[in-house]
Each structure stands twice: as structure tokens, then as C-alpha cells.
Symmetry: D3
Subunit: 134 residues, 6 copies
């Protein structure tokens, strides 16, 4: 098995807010991430696919295809406010954990069968990231 990874970035706003929590709970659990109008990040998304290397092309998967999939998945997030603009995040808090899972599932649906989606890594910042593998 050979693993190919590709990185893409997107810029989004988000707010941590759980309507089932009281205001005091929201403040205590989410701190400044609970600020009313949200804040934002340059997210870095890395996807890793595993597969066998085609003996002729020397590739696990064609990078053009990978880039189309990553663009399809991140376009609805990029330059958007996740809480307002992405239906999934009106129901669940757009934490790094939940966004990573969201990206994993969207990518998985689009990948061709010959390769396996091993992992998605999502960086909210250089010093904070989440790995999700389904």
C-alpha cells in the first residue's frame, strides 16, 4: 500500500454555540469562541488516500481528480460563515472535530472505488488539528 496526501486551504468564519446549553454553559465551555458574531480561521485540510501504484502511470490516483474532489468539498466552506451557510452546522457546533468528520464523509462519497480514504486531517491553526478516519 502506498499513501498519497494532498493539502488544500480554505477560510471560514464560525461560532461555537449550543442552543441546548444555557448562556452560562456556553460561555464556560466555549469561552471567546462563543462571541456573538463569530471569528475565523485559515483552515488547512489534508486528505490521505491509500491504494496500489499503477505500474504504467506510477500513480495511486491522478492528482487532477484529487484536486477536483477537494475543491468540490471545500468550496461551500471557503469564504463562508459555517454556522449560517452550511446546513450541517446549523445543527451541530462547527468545531474542528465536526468539520473534519464533515470533510471526511464528503470526500469519501466522491472518491473512486480503487482508492481508500485513510484519513482526513484538519488544522484550525498551526498548533491545533484533528485527525478523523471514519
Amino acid at each position: 500500500m502506498t499513501y498519497l496526501s494532498r493539502r488544500i486551504t480554505f477560510s471560514s468564519a464560525h461560532r461555537y454555540f449550543q442552543k441546548k446549553f444555557s448562556e452560562a454553559e456556553n460561555k464556560k465551555i466555549f469561552g471567546k469562541c462563543y462571541n456573538e458574531h463569530g471569528h475565523g480561521h485559515n483552515y488547512v485540510l489534508e486528505m490521505t488516500v491509500g491504494g496500489s501504484v499503477d505500474p504504467l502511470s506510477g500513480m495511486v490516483i491522478n492528482l487532477v481528480e484529487v484536486d477536483q474532489i477537494l475543491k468540490t468539498v471545500t468550496d461551500p466552506l471557503d469564504h463562508h460563515h459555517l454556522n449560517f451557510d452550511v446546513p450541517e452546522f446549523s445543527k451541530i457546533v462547527p468545531t474542528t472535530e465536526n468539520i473534519a468528520k464533515y470533510c471526511f464523509e464528503k470526500i469519501k462519497d466522491l472518491l473512486p472505488r480503487e482508492v481508500n480514504l485513510e484519513k482526513v486531517r484538519l488544522y484550525e491553526a498551526e498548533d491545533l488539528w484533528v485527525d478523523y478516519n471514519g
Copy 2:
């Protein structure tokens, strides 16, 4: 002259929107930065001060003081939506250019007289930044 530079990061949401522009102009000039609910970035702010090195301490300025100033300046921006939460950016568009100028002026007011604020550099992303020197 010796120049000391310090870097700090903050995470903000913003939206490019000029009420004096028509909707068509806003869309044309600002593109996806005009999306209604905004998006966000991990901003990296670098400030450079110039001065003479104190022969005893070996320092241009004490880093503790620098860090207090940078925190004072970026706290109102960090984990906030610039258009809503920072009065200056209800009047002017929170572009990298304007945020850099804002930071320069706020830092300049707080710096001790013995050092000179040479420059502020503000990165919106790794591949886009603005320098402002007053």
C-alpha cells in the same frame, strides 16, 4: 540602529462590503469576500521597532513590554468579527491594508518613546501580506 521584531497571531471574521457601492459593484470588486455572513482568517501580525541597544541589558526593548502592547492591540480583534465588533471597521472595509494601518496606529500610541515603530506587517494568509510604516 538595531531592529527587533515580534510576531503574534489572532483569529477574526470579516466581510468586505462598501455601502457606497452598488450590489453589483460590491460583487465585482470583492468577489467571495462579499458573501453576506463573512469568513475569517488566522492573522499573523509582526511589529518591528528600532532603537539603540542598552549596553547593560543588551536589549532594544523588554519583550515583556512588547508582548503586553501586542496583546492590548489584538485582544479586541481576536475571536471577533471585525465588521461588528471593532468600531473602526463599521466605517471602513476591514481589508488587510486597513487592518495593518489600524494595528500600526494602536501600537504606536502604546510604545515607549525610546524606540521607534518601524513597520507593521500583517499576514492574512501565508501568501498575502501588507506592510505599513506610517
Copy 3:
């Protein structure tokens, strides 16, 4: 399982020296790391915890808690000379391997039960690092 990782830095001095080795052995095995007064690094410590995502908060663990643990573990190392100031490293050589294990065990003791410490990665420099998983 979802994995959350957090990075923190600390700056330490250290010296590679094994009293059970002869001077010639110390020099041969440790090279310039054996220089008498030591040298130092900006260490980068990354910890990865695995757990399930809380459906309400959307988090594996609260980052405030993570940061307190990492600060508690690295404060005795930061701005210290490991050989002199950290009892463990008066007995064993403070190599990247041994410091990584030290950090892993200290973090493990402090982590709440609901999450699992998957791994600690310690960078001595951009081009040299150690992973330890218990």
C-alpha cells in the same frame, strides 16, 4: 475515534553525557552534543489524544484543559537546563527519545480518563523528531 492534537514549544539547554562511558566513548558517541557547558533547542511538543466527540459540545476534550496540562508538563523544562534542573535527567541522558518519553508519562498522569493519550511527538529541530506512544 477522533484524534485531537495540540502543539506547544519550550526552550531548554541540555548536554549529552553518560558517566558510565569513558571520555573517549562520550566524545565518539555524542560528538559536539558532549561539549561541556551544553547547548540548546526550541523544542516543539505535540500531543495527540483520541476519544469520542461529545454530541453537544462537538469536542473530544476541552482545549483549555489540554493547555493547562501541557503548561504543567513543560514549565519545569522551559528556560531550564535539563541536566541540572530536571531530576530525571540527572540519571538518564536528555536525548530527544528520553524527553519524549518523559513528556508522555507526565501528560498521561494528568489527562482525564475519557480520552486516551495516543502519542507524543517531540521535535528537537525541524529535521529531527521522536514519536513515543507508551
Copy 4:
């Protein structure tokens, strides 16, 4: 088990070209990587070895030995055109996948028995890399 990783860089030219493909296929599959005279990259190679930590030296493996192995493996690639100068890549396309495998096998042959070559990671660019583990 403790894992030690080391990074080295090398700069090579290469061209994606499969003589068993028609010109149209080469163009379609390889795009601009098929351009006649090739292009190039600053490759970043990371190797990870696993082993037990020697209780006296505190090391999995001596870094001097690691660096000699990595230099032996990358010297024939560094400042060379892979298609012309490396016999293996006159037969197979020098994709990141194939170069990673090449490096893994060369390193494995040179490593001492006490340690295990866990993985090789090869970056063609910051946003594209391949992991190979044998």
C-alpha cells in the same frame, strides 16, 4: 517502541513520460508534467525508524549513522535529472509514489538490523506527499 524521524532535502528534475502510452495518453494523464524537457522540485524526504532506546546512550540509533545513510541514498538524486541519471527511472515514471518506494528500499538495505524502517515520507511540495512503508 520509540520512533525517530529525520528529514533531508534534495533537488531534482524529472519528467512524467510513459513510452507505452500514446502521445495523447501521455498528455491527458500527465498534463504539464509531460513537458518535454522536464521540470523540478525541492524534495523533502523523511524517514522513520523504530526501535528500543539504548539505556546508556538514550538513543534508538546514532544520528551520524542516519545522516550517512540518507546522504548515500539521496546523493545520486540530488542535483540530477531522475529520468536521465537514475537507472531505475528510465524504466518507471519518476512519480512521487515511485521515488518514495525507491528511497524506502535503498534506506532499508543500509539500515542496521536493530532498528526497523517504519516509513518513508516524500514531499514533492508542501501540499503533496507520499508515505510508503514496504
Copy 5:
């Protein structure tokens, strides 16, 4: 004056070879950069323009325009072998110095008059770069 900088990357092969030098001179001066079939790099090009900030748009120059210019300038270099594919570099050696000057002049011709091209910085690698300002 406010200065806006933008970064773009391109991947090229090149060879250092001066036909007016003897073979011995070429070898002595250019070392392994003289290897017959060339090698390559991921170049990072940064351009800095200076101008006044438009009070309505908050911009020195529209980033869409900047990106078009940078793409126009780097497309003939990207995924090409500079010595073969770029006429200028059949006459002069494609050193970082000469490529930086080439990019500066091409960008200058395309920039609108309202902004001034302050500088071009070209990285051949993380640890080697050239600044050229006309």
C-alpha cells in the same frame, strides 16, 4: 504608502552552464549545478507593490489583478526546463539572481500605473533567496 505582497510558486528545471567558460571553469564555478541534464526546484516568488489605499475599496490593488499578472509571468516557467523552454535563459545562466530580474521586469510591464513594483523576492529554497528592485 502601503505595501501589498503576494506569493506564488512554480516548479522548474534548470542547469548552470556558461558556454564561454571551459569545462573546468564550469565545473569549478557551478559544481553540481553544472550536471548535464539539470535539476530543479519549487521556486517561491513574492512580489511587493506600493501605493495608496483606495478609501472606498480599502485596497492598494485588486488581488484578482495581481494573481492574473503573476500567473501570466510564471506560466512559461512553471513545469518547464528554463534553459530549453525560456528564450532569455538560452543566453544567460538561469541563476536565482537572473530569474528574479526576469520576473521583476515581466511583472513591471503588466502592472497598472497606479502602483509601484517595489521588489521581487525569489526563493530557490527555504535557505536561499534573491531580492531585486530594479
Copy 6:
């Protein structure tokens, strides 16, 4: 004028301590940098030279020469404790400011006359650096 910059790293221990200060002053001014046995950093040194580009070689200065100079200057610092091992820093505090000036002067003495040493930049960490230009 064309400017060429080169980066090199070295790892040193140091301690901030001024014998003309009282213990209380040392603690107040230097904080944890005053800890008795010192701490350390991976320093990154960048030097920038300016000159004209030789029309035949296409170079401002040969990189081999640059690297020899930088090695000569940093070898006495690398894997050393600056306060103990470098005579200059037994008299003045080895702050980033003073180390930058030290490197500038040592490099200047070794550079050939045809190029001008424009600047030395010294990073103590990613978020703290000093520029010195003589």
C-alpha cells in the same frame, strides 16, 4: 543592485545575567532567562549581501564561499553555551540583539570586497528576531 540571502541554523545555550545588576534587577529584567544554568534555542541566521550580478556566472557571489563564511562564523556558537564558550559573551549579555551584532561583524570581516553586507537577521524563535545592519 541585487541582494542574495542565505540561511543557516545553529543550536546554542545561553543565560541572561548582568553582574552589574543586583539579583533583584536581574530577575526583574531577565525573568526566566536569568535561570542559573541557562536554556537554549535553535537560532536561524540570515545574511543578505548586495552587489552586481556577474554577467557570465549570473551570480552576486558564489554560494560555496557564502557557506564557508557562515560556517566559520557559526561553528564557535553551534552546540555551545554562549556565556561560557564565546569570549565576547562573558562581557556582554548574549541577547538576540548582541548575537546579531556579533555575527554581522564576524561575517563582514570575511566577506570579499565586491559585495556589501546589507543585513544580518537572527531568529531566536519563529516569533522573535533581530535585524542589524552595522
